[in-house]
Assembly symmetry: D2
Homo-oligomer: 401 residues x 4
């Protein structure tokens, strides 16, 4: 007996954890294995090599850590910084806020640049702070690539340009949790020093892996970083990399096989095609939202996120009720509004291993829910707008032509 059983597939449209493709579920359907046998190191080697490709780095060093995105944050910070270090951080939504809280608890001197929720990082203020920092007291710029709470994507290329403009040596530390494998991300080209993601986002795996990638400069910084660290210490990993056994402690072999399978699917589709698919699904979603007469929480087009759309509801509707009904009536899982936007937005995650008809099913569901809660709109209008775009723009499935 399943206490919350509903017939048919659950429609999972939270912005993580996302749907796991069937071949990946299959790959993880296995008994434990001795991770000290030759098999797991051989597998791990391929993973470390291939993980670099999704970060678009050739010079970075990846760490696949049995943790969550929160742990990956801590890993990124404690390995490169010392207590008291001044770091610039942008407060633009719930996840950037949580990261800032962590930075403060890890005893950095956090120079917060706040924007209204729905806006991107204020890079002008960052520029002025960098300009003013001739003595290089700023040790790092920490930025969330894609703020999952508001559906806002920051422009990392511009951040790099500004840093370069001021020839500032601060490390560029990027939360790419909901962007890697979903958005255009270029670690080497954009001079990112630490980037990190989590397995349950666009990698379409269960939660349980935090994947962190460090530039040579970031690795160099570990030598002087005085933050206390143990579980998250990169040096432990590097020691075992040198030994060729790779793991300082027990990994989940199931997740490693799952990571292998999901990377295989991503490379089969082509990473750029995966990212283009995310762009296509996101655009379709935004067209539906527009057709419904609703607003995107992201205030400017340049910030629109291709992994999640945060939809503002009219003041007379409680967005929590939308999310609640979605689950209770439609077996549809949507994202809640968090903190400052609680009750004001609901979120449609459109990331990971997802296709057009899945999204249209979700949009059709959202329409019915909007009707349920008394929002005046025409059923089918959003689906029509989305499918008009998709029908024109989606490719044939290459393997099936």
């Amino acid at each position: 007996m399943d206490y919350f059983y509903a017939p048919g597939r659950n429609h999972l449209f939270v912005p993580g954890p996302v749907n796991i493709p069937e071949p990946v579920i299959r790959a993880m359907n296995r008994n434990n294995e001795d991770y000290r046998s030759p098999a797991i190191p051989a597998l791990t080697k391929t993973l470390l090599d291939d993980v670099k490709k999704i970060f678009k780095t050739t010079v970075g060093t990846p760490f696949i850590i049995p943790t969550t995105g929160t742990g990956a944050w801590e890993s990124a910070l404690t390995n490169t910084l010392s207590p008291g270090d001044r770091v610039i951080s942008f407060l633009i939504g719930q996840f950037s806020l949580l990261w800032i809280n962590q930075q403060q608890r890890l005893r950095f001197n956090v120079d917060v640049i706040e924007s209204e929720w729905g806006h991107g990082a204020n890079l002008e203020i960052m520029a002025s702070k960098l300009e003013a920092d001739a003595s290089h007291t700023i040790k790092a710029v920490c930025i969330v690539h894609n703020e999952t709470a508001t559906g806002v994507t920051n422009n990392l290329a511009t951040v790099r340009k500004i840093l370069d403009h001021y020839k500032h040596p601060a490390l560029l530390v990027v939360d790419a949790v909901s962007s890697i494998c979903a958005l255009d991300f270029r670690m080497d080209e954009w001079g990112i020093d630490v980037a990190l993601t989590g397995s349950q986002k666009a990698l379409s795996l269960p939660g349980g892996l935090g994947i962190v990638c460090a530039s040579p400069k970031a690795l160099e910084a570990t030598k002087t970083a005085k933050s206390v660290r143990a579980f998250f210490d990169w040096n432990e990993y590097l020691k075992f990399y040198r030994l060729g056994t790779y793991w300082p402690y027990t990994p989940s072999v199931q997740l490693l096989y799952g990571l292998r399978a999901t990377l295989d699917l991503i490379f089969q589709e082509g990473l750029d095609n995966v990212i283009a698919r995310h762009g296509r699904l996101a655009k379709a979603t935004r067209l539906a939202v527009e057709a419904w007469g609703l607003k995107n929480c992201a205030q400017k087009e340049e910030w629109y996120s291709d992994t999640v759309t945060s939809v503002l509801v009219p003041h007379y509707i409680d967005s929590t009720e939308i999310v609640s009904r979605a689950w209770k009536r439609y077996n549809l899982s949507l994202g809640l509004g968090l903190n400052k936007v609680a009750g004001k937005v609901f979120r449609i995650g459109h990331l990971g291993n997802l296709n057009e008809l899945q999204l249209l099913g979700c949009l059709a569901g959202v329409e019915m829910i909007l009707k349920d809660v008394g929002y005046p709109m025409r059923l089918g209008s959003g689906v029509a707008a989305a499918s008009a775009f998709l029908q024109k723009n989606m490719p044939m499935i290459p393997a099936r032509i």
Copy 2:
């Protein structure tokens, strides 16, 4: 490497095999087992008891046979009839045709009553034949409850009434392959002598089980039925039923555990609720078809099938192209037109463990395909019609209220 890989879920809308619910996939994810241990007989006993419930019989005897629907047909016929026996059979589409072919190959004297494809069984002709058959040369009336090729459902209650009216002792043998657990079906009430289904239809299992249920009168008929039979002989089953070991040969224990799991889900939802859900999804589909300006292959409302809708396309469109594009561009599996209606219809299966948003995703896909092949229609129109109906009529999920 998957040769036909496409991102996201496959949208499986052929009228069988259908989507398997995740709890059922899980239940089948297991090693083999000795089927002569006490465990498998204990499991089988619960299955035989519970299978009767989905046929709505208390007096029937079920046989769970490692075969397909075609094998179940043969089982139903050879156990109850003798070569040369006169049987009435209705030709109304591809599956009734295949069954008639089988009846002929099994050397029965088949009295075929043909209708145009898209029409139901012609019960007036049956009535006149029964009336004329004072000497009871007709040994059986064979009828397909739901003709999957044309989406036509026959009225079994009327068939029974006519037989009763003429006090005719012919056996009533029913192909309920695509109706059990999808349509209203009442074995005892309608005086059905043999009914049969297959695991891959509304039971939402893999193919591999033919389930046949025999009335006491049908069991009695086996004593004189002279058709040669071996693998399909009910007596072999009955012998092992008496022994309490149940299996004359090796069953798939995986399918037995799967059958247990799917029955549990069906009973949790409530069989009548399952059937009501099928009615709701079918109605929504028909409303979409109407909104597109297309016609149902079933020519009268009384014949409309709640498990599959066969959609007629205009003469200038080849329905095969629709099905082909569905798979090649949208990862959507639709049913082809078969035989007489090849190229003229495509079929949307809406049976099994399926929910509203899955269906709406499919309908949105069909709209885009219709656009692709040059059919003039308004995107979103079908989805709008379907979701207007669903939004008004679908219940909250009981387990989540």
Copy 3:
């Protein structure tokens, strides 16, 4: 709650169904699929090609049928013979008996050559019957390659030699259910006309597939064979082979993917290595039996089966009690004695995807059970004998050297 739960792995040593390798369980862990899409025919084509390799035939035509071994028997007979045809059949144990029963029910004129259980087929009597049959009234010789009830393997090469010696045109029809992929089997070289196996034996799959292979001569025979057949008719398959869609009715796609996976494992190990492994495990088992002071049910070494060892117990012990205790105390599944040897033998199946330490665990279990039931023997003696042989003769695992 599992009603028969026991901690740890079940030790499955019945002579089928056997253990499924984890990669094969994984391959079957999937949703249904439209078997009319291009994917399943493409998969099926590889299966039909590769299945021929395990029969060691290049000229044969394989049929993969959704049925059991019993159904495969019926398929082999009804497609090639006519009612009243005289067939020679050997009664040497329970499975050959069941096949003979089937032959009789299918209305052949069965010329039974009986041996004591524990003996192989009496080929001298066959020879004399063939010699006497100048008019070729004998249409087929039906023989079970490996009688699973007594652990007796017949010599098929000799059968062929005798047929050739008398230039007798009778079809050679072979039940290879428990021999394909376990014993040396050479369809073409031995001039076998029909051979058949089941998925749950040395193919290490769930039950549900009967695989039948027909020589050109057997295919020719279908043209005149008058047995009534429908579900099992090869012509249906051949029609769909020509169409390139392969399936006359719904296959279990899960089993097809499983068959692909198990064949891949077999070819990776090497079919001859697989057969050699069976020989090694069987020899080890027999050495253990000898060390325990027990007798093999197979009366001569030439008949010893490499897939199952049937062990005779002293008259004061009921072998049923051994099998019962195995399950109730040791989570070990052994084969019962059947029919004439009920209570007199228990059976150790050593076929399928199995390795040496699994077998030794089983043998250690049998020792404890023998102790339980009062048989005087030295614990460890059988394991010692078996492991002495294995330690000398087993190879390194090629993939791990």
Copy 4:
């Protein structure tokens, strides 16, 4: 293609990760789910309640953390202690050494009490240190219940008695990674303040969960503990416990369902029966080792571990070769000797969901390997000794009587 494929089951006898029972593999075979829906909190609540039972605590507060045992160590320490705090820690093998290293890196003042490897914790020295510590500078006693490297179990009841004797308020912090669900463990009765385990040990799950349980006194200590902590901060969990949503960051829902399933199996068997089974398998292993003429690395019987036996090999044998051959020839995974005992011991893990015949298969394998590497012993001797004990002492399987 599996690069390291070997036929048959892998025999997994490292002391973690251990075999996952099939029902638990099944329970984890699922898509992702929104962990903010009502389902996951409802599930989590049952887990938190039931996890307390395996720690034998009613007053403790459990934390189920997406991490490994190493992370659980860090969680235990940083939530209760401050940098510079004096802690007593026992160095008796590789895992206690690693924990001490971590304690030092977390900047505690570690007062190490070293024993020879193979000996248990020196509790007399602890006693004298406590006695001398009238001012209570010692803030915690950290002890590994079961040292997995040497197969040594420490006596926690005695530790508690000594602390009580000196009325010393130091926290008692216990690594129970390889003891919970395997050895007798009584958190409340023994006054343990923090205990921790990992999912991949006797819980028989994949790696990925560190489970930590805190006494009320330990929770009180968090209020003053000044260690920097973020990911591992219990307060984050407690905040979400109060909200009823339970998770400060994304858990693996698969592992949660797996934990539910494995706890269900443990309670079905009975926790005390599970522990008794571990005792029985361990005793059998030790009897085999003795029969082989080899020595236990654990130097006194009072320290013998019931989860792992570390076996000393003669000086002329390299134990690494034993472990290597086990994998390369027998598909058997044994534990290596680590650090000081590298090359000198190999380890047989006998923990988790394991039964007698599995162990005997392993022991038979070890015998053949010992033969391979030239150790003079009689094949079968260890199996005989083990099975003599087991045959006398193992119970019938309750569910099957």
